[in-house]
Amino acid sequence: MIEIETTGRTIDEAIQKALDTLGVKRNNLDIKVLSEPAQGLFNLIGAKDARINAKVLFPPAQYLEHFLAELIKYMNLEGTVAVEEDEEKIIASINGKRIGSLIGRRGRTLNELQYLLNTIIKRQFSGIKKMIIVDVEGYRERREKTLTQLAKSIARKVDRLGEEQVLEPMTPQERRIIHLALKGDNNVITYSKGEEPYRKVVIAPR
């Protein structure tokens, strides 16, 4: 739902109803007053409610794209932002020259940025369930390949030594890649231990 009409005893009341129904912030709404409220005789006879039309200016994906483009500009970086959206997630891909500082060591900055954006989108659009994924210069795909190779080589080591190995702390997304990479492995099992953000994957003999 992107556009609605609401009524209220005052214009403010009608706006508040629109904000509650749409679950967005005031600065993301375009409001048109369709009719002013009228008091009527003794506040009873002929009283008329205020009526407004409220339109969401930026739906989540566009909001995210706009927010990130501004963010990059304020960071004195040069890059372009493209967003894709499906039923479960919104993916924002950032590309540009010398934009590696947005990734950081082992993706730390990128993961913190993604956490921040997930928080922001949830606050700006109450009730949204979609996950926000941010990628810079194809880093996520490269990291997925690296983690899959790492998982397989450590699994061989675990099998050879018969001892479990604990990996470095990873984000839920990264741990999922490790679990998936070894899901069909006949020699090892995987599980996670510890608390976020230091939760780690353990690879153990089966």
Binding site: Y74, N76, L102, T109, E112, Y115, L116, T119, R123, P197
Partner: protein, 76 residues
């Protein structure tokens, strides 16, 4: 730097018009003093400082043109 921090924080809080940032430049640091409405304090800090940490990491990834670190101080 000031605009960057304002951009992020205004998207996190309920009262963006009450967000204030003062920039203090030192030799090795740029200090950003952040003030928000009292009810919004928790919204910029987060559980166990999780949100404040993410804000600091992102702000420090900005290109400042020199090697100075950016310090974000949340002021009551």
């Amino acid at each position: 730097m000031k605009q960057l921090l304002e951009h992020i924080v205004k998207a996190l809080v309920d009262e963006p018009e009450k967000v204030e940032v003062h920039e203090l430049e030192g030799e090795s640091f740029i200090i950003l003093e952040l003030r928000v409405a009292p009810d919004d304090m928790g919204k910029v800090i987060g559980k166990q400082g999780r949100i404040a940490r993410a804000i600091r990491t992102v702000v420090n990834a900005a290109r400042t043109g020199d090697k100075r670190r950016v310090v974000v101080e949340i002021v009551q």
